[in-house]
């Protein structure tokens, strides 16, 4: 296949995807839980922008509805719920992590590069698909995994899961933008339920242990 310059669509989608990935890295290293939540809100905003962009260039009107819903839910409601929990928790608001920032970032870089090239190696060619954007979404998902595994406080882990969902939404916008609206809405509704449940469990955890750290969570083994 001859190499050609990417179309404006692919170029813009790739740029937005890279911004989302960079935000994910920033979340990974953000020391304060509040700044992590703010970064999540920003990341969701960028994903919403991608939805609007895809809607406009591909003329898929239903994506505007999706963008509006995802803006309300992921940019406003979810960050607010988590921030409220944090202000109630009234404990040290710095997150913990089991490794230093530099090590964590290096691991995340290695893993996202791995994800990027493995998706590239799959050869998912298509005339309309910005392949790089899909590979970057996989990178976002893998870095979210690193975040969940290495950060050891319940808030970071929950926010890590929410940002994983951002990575999946981004993948769905670039490779499955024609997905029926009803299904997109069902996915978002599910995210909302998950947010509520994560909130309840975080509150239970905090009420029992007076901390947001996951250190007390090592009783069950074998």
């Amino acid at each position: 296949m001859p190499s050609v310059a990417p179309s404006t669509f692919a170029g813009t989608a790739n740029v937005i995807a890279v911004i989302v990935l960079l935000t994910e890295f920033a979340m990974l290293r953000a020391p304060l839980l509040r700044s992590q939540v703010r970064l999540y809100a920003f990341q969701s905003l960028v994903v919403t922008a991608l939805a609007v962009f895809v809607a406009a260039t591909r003329h898929i009107d239903s994506l505007y509805v999706l963008a509006a819903l995802s803006f309300t839910l992921k940019v406003i409601i979810v960050p607010r719920v988590v921030t409220r929990l944090l202000s109630r928790a009234n404990v040290s608001l710095a997150g913990n992590s089991s490794l230093g920032v530099a090590t964590m970032t290096l691991i995340a870089i290695a893993i996202s590069v791995f994800g990027f090239f493995s998706v590239g190696a799959l050869n998912l060619r298509s005339p309309v698909l910005p392949e790089a954007a899909l590979a970057v979404s996989v990178g976002v998902i893998l870095v979210a995994f690193v975040l969940i595994i290495l950060r050891s406080d319940v808030v970071s882990q929950a926010v890590g899961f929410f940002s994983l969902e951002n990575g999946v939404s981004m993948a769905s916008l670039v490779v499955a933008s024609g997905l029926p609206l009803i299904i997109d809405v069902a996915f978002l509704f599910d995210l909302m339920v998950a947010v509520v449940v994560f909130g309840v469990l975080m509150r239970i955890h905090h009420a029992r242990n007076r901390t947001l750290s996951t250190e007390p969570l090592d009783q069950l083994r074998g």
């Binding site: 490779v175 024609g178 469990l201 074998g222």
Partner: protein, 486 residues
Amino acid sequence: MHLLLIALVAVPLVPTVACLVAPRRSSQIITIVAAAVAFGLTVALIPYAASHGALSTSILRADAVSVVFLLPTTFLYLTAAIFSVGYLRATDDPRGRRYVRRFYVGFNVFCWSMVVAPLVNGLALLWVAIEVTTVVSALLVAIDDTDGAAEAAWKYVLLASMGLGVALLGTIVMYYAGTKAFGPSYDLSYGRLLAGAPHFSPDAVRLADVLAVLGFGTKMGLVPVHTWLPDAHSEAPTPISALLSGALLTTSFYAIVRFFQISERALGPTFPRIVLLVFGLASLALAALYVLNQRDLKRLLAYSSVEHMGILAIGMSFAAPLALVGVLLHVIAHGAAKGSAFFGAGSVVRKFATKDLRQIRGGVSILPWSGTMLVLAVLALSGLPPFGIFRSEFLIVAGGLRDPNDAVAAILVVLATVAFFGLSWFTTETMLTPVTGTVPPRGEVSVAIVIAMLVGMVALVVLGVHVPGALNHLLERGARSLEVSR
């Protein structure tokens, strides 16, 4: 017939709403009645699903495979509802009415989500339903409000959500694979996917299949993504443990089966089989070893679940229709056996006030009914005749021996024997040894527990001795639909 489907989806919602306001006794009765109706409706679906094609509307769809997976769910819905009557009485709960209300509302919503999952039409809605089962069951795992329960619930919701994130990506990639056949916009209903699968883009289907097995495999308890499972099963209230093990794990397996069906049509059988074989062997091997070294009664049963999920995955990977019939029967028989085993464990834990296998002695002489049936249920889980799991494992192994690569069947037999050794060792040691030291008084915890176990054991014997004709047709039809016609 379409009304039947709608009724089945609606029935568990009635007790959900009623339990919000009803007092405890009425909640129990309403739940049992609704569960019995749900089970009855599922049984009523069998003859149709066994002899016709899929029964479908735009949202709901039932074919032989989905009815097979509905059977253990609604069966355990009923038996766990009966068991809960005795379980909650024995609690003489200090937490009072609020606990009971939360328990029953959660219990019914959980069962509803597991009834809906095999009945929705399409991969996207299936994912949504399975995500709902996760969040509801995570709250139910946490309901006992102990340190262990809070820890188990957090690990469970986090790991399962991560897994389902991967599964969602798999679903989206499958959608993308289909755009090659259907154009950019279409719906993910099964009929369309199965018909169009041969024209999908094969690389994308491969990626989707692996992501789906890994993602839904997290909830099914496949090694190495099983780590939430023993914690959640041991810390949840016992009726919930039974539902998690007997119904939730197989509901996630159902999602894997659907991806398998599509991948098999798009790629030919080799690739999806190898994926399942790898995960299945890892699960069976690791679980068999963990069973050998357990000190906690409920964790022992949880690892036995991982073992059986491994057997299901391996069974799917055999290139023989016989093995597929075995897999579908195994889904049902495992539900019945694991239900009874957990109910028995619940009775023992109530009586001895411990889950520690070293402190439980003389179970059968202290609990003459539930203790005896626990021993029988564990023997059934180990694959002894005359119980249903004997027949299903026999079919799986017999199918495996016809596979050109029959070494896998031999490995399966060896590992299942190791697990049998571990399970029966601990059970005989705790249940059949003479009573020592200070012991609780002889006698059953509750009649309801005995009834729930008895129902499960009867079902197991029926499945083992003579599978009813309609059910047999259902299993055969289901197995045929899992094979590519060549």
